[in-house]
Amino acid sequence: MQVNDTNKEFRPLIVAFCCNWCSYAGADLAGSSRLSYPADVKIIRVPCSCRVNPMFILRAFQRGADGVIIAGCHPGDCHYTSGNYFARRRMTLLFSMLDYLGIERERTRVEWISAAEGAKFSATMNEFAETISRLGENRRLEDLRCKE
Amino acid sequence: MTVNEKELAERVIEISGVNTRKCMKCGKCSGTCPSYDEMEYHPHQFVSMVEKGQIKKLMESKSLWTCLSCFACIERCPRSVEPAKLIEAVRLCVIRQQGANHMKACSVPDSIDENMPQQAIVSAFRKYSK
């Protein structure tokens, strides 16, 4: 008999959308400073946080992500002047809606991380991965995904 | 600041609705105040003393009873701090205490004359007693 999978430690799948100008650079800085964070975090580069379509987030959940984080320039510092302000409104409303549908609010997050904040990037990802690990597999969305 | 004083300070902030942190310490309220020379602590000091929680000193001060409620400090403050509301709040902290009315009903007949309008008597009562 094979050992049941449940004995294996749960490793969450986390998708991080990072804006090219601040947060992606912040992730690079975390890397060059050797500030580690779990390999569960996979980064997708977007030009600006305002490029993140709610569909991308839902798609990630649909395909099995356990947490989604969007990282952008701090308000006021957007490379495109206003992109993160629009993203902030969109994501606030979307997260509120997900919460309203009963999906754990901790599974989605927005953080403002500048290119100089490598330490913040790493700390944020560690903390987020820990939160998601604690929440465990995305059962609720699993239901939505109609997994067996 | 004693525990009691901290509570008092919070109370003053709460009932006045004033955000003392908006003050930029320009002193225009005190430059404006018509009753400045009657006061021990002046309008700008009310703001900083409430911020520091020094309510008891203010409660014991005669400044409370010489504010004319003319609202000039409120009108001219460039930061919308509203010092007069703080003075009123500290005044209330005093007169809401048992037997701490600044003006007693029995003392009134001496101070009025035949021309004095009701408005003055009612106002003074509202300001000086509970």
Partner: protein, 330 residues
């Protein structure tokens, strides 16, 4: 019972005869008296036109196509329809010059299904009279309280004032301001859900949305869902799907649909009215409206076309998305 007010009919006839318009957008009767559908009439067919207390549909969406045809169409718009009309004008979807808006008064519209639920069957006609509704049925006359048979959307009526019109059929009835019928209770349904636990909310929505058969009625009736091609119909979008392959799909569909109309939805309530599965879809839209009102200031789509829409504007002091977390478990 009379199916159209003489004044309204005569007005439409005048508009066609004096050349102002060549068509009228109103309703026509179907098999049953309550089975009414929006329809376009010309001078010859005006006789079939009706407008009575069953005519609930939001007419504004039809004007996207109608206003791009030749000639000018007169449209019978209820007060709530004018919000959608305005919103569509703001989005440049309607050619204003090709529409003659005839504002018709409305006392709320009757949901025959609700009446049947009360045991009023075989309906031949109905008329609102103050706070009651008088039904004529094959079993005789019946009356009931108005609020019991009004459409869901009418229970949170935004008011009886037309936001835009070329002419009112009954100017006497037009109030000076739009006063919501039930004041603040419009968001009660949303608040009730918000006050549940996440688990309860999840069960609630699972129960509701799992009934979705993806008939697209909500989308087809929605004046804000008027894209030339819906992303869900576009294979190139990467999210298109006709039928549900798994339970997630209808969640995705309804969330994205609500998101796409957020800030543009006038809360006309048509989505819920037409849903064959009686899913309370308006609760999704109203959640966005409630959040927008609370976070970014009161905003009513279609009220004033000059105002910035909440999702295409911002302030530097906007709340952070974390506010959703900070509001705590409800």
């Amino acid at each position: 019972m009379q199916r159209i007010n003489d004044d309204v009919l005569n007005k439409c006839r005048d508009l066609i005869e004096n050349g102002t318009c060549d068509r009228v957008l109103a309703w026509e009767e179907g098999e049953f008296c309550y089975d009414v559908t929006p329809a376009v009439f010309t001078g010859d067919t005006l006789g079939k036109m009706i407008y009575d207390d069953f005519c609930a549909a939001n007419q504004s969406k039809y004007l996207i196509d109608e206003s791009h045809k030749e000639g000018r169409i007169a449209a019978l718009l209820k007060p709530c329809d004018t919000y959608s009309f305005n919103q569509l004008l703001k989005e440049n979807r309607i050619k204003r010059e090709n529409v003659y808006v005839l504002g018709v008064p409305c006392d709320g519209k009757i949901d025959a299904e609700k009446a049947r639920g009360l045991g009023i069957k075989g309906i031949l006609g109905a008329e609102i009279d103050g706070d009651t509704v008088a039904f004529e049925t094959i079993y005789g006359k019946k009356t009931c309280s108005k609020k019991d048979v009004l459409h869901e959307k009418c229970l949170s009526c935004k008011g009886k004032k037309h936001m835009i019109f070329d002419e009112l059929t009954d100017p006497e009835k037009e109030p000076e301001t739009a006063v919501p019928e039930n004041g603040t209770s419009r968001f009660d349904g949303v608040s009730k859900l918000e006050n549940m636990t996440a688990e309860e909310r999840f069960r609630f929505w699972r129960g509701e949305l799992s009934r979705c058969i993806r008939c697209n009625a909500c989308r087809n009736v929605c004046p804000a869902c008027s894209c030339r091609q819906c992303v869900f119909d576009n294979p190139a979008s990467g999210v298109s799907s006709k039928a549900n392959t798994n339970d997630f799909e209808e969640n995705l569909y309804h969330i994205i649909r609500a998101f796409h109309v957020a800030g543009r939805c006038t809360d006309c309530g048509e989505c819920t009215r037409v849903c064959p599965e009686n899913i309370p879809l308006h609760l999704l839209n109203r959640k966005f409206i409630k959040d927008i009102n609370e976070l970014y200031g009161e905003y009513q789509a279609g009220y004033d076309t000059a105002l910035d829409a909440p999702l295409t504007s911002y302030t530097k002091q906007d709340a952070e998305p974390g506010i959703v977390h900070e509001r705590g478990v409800r």
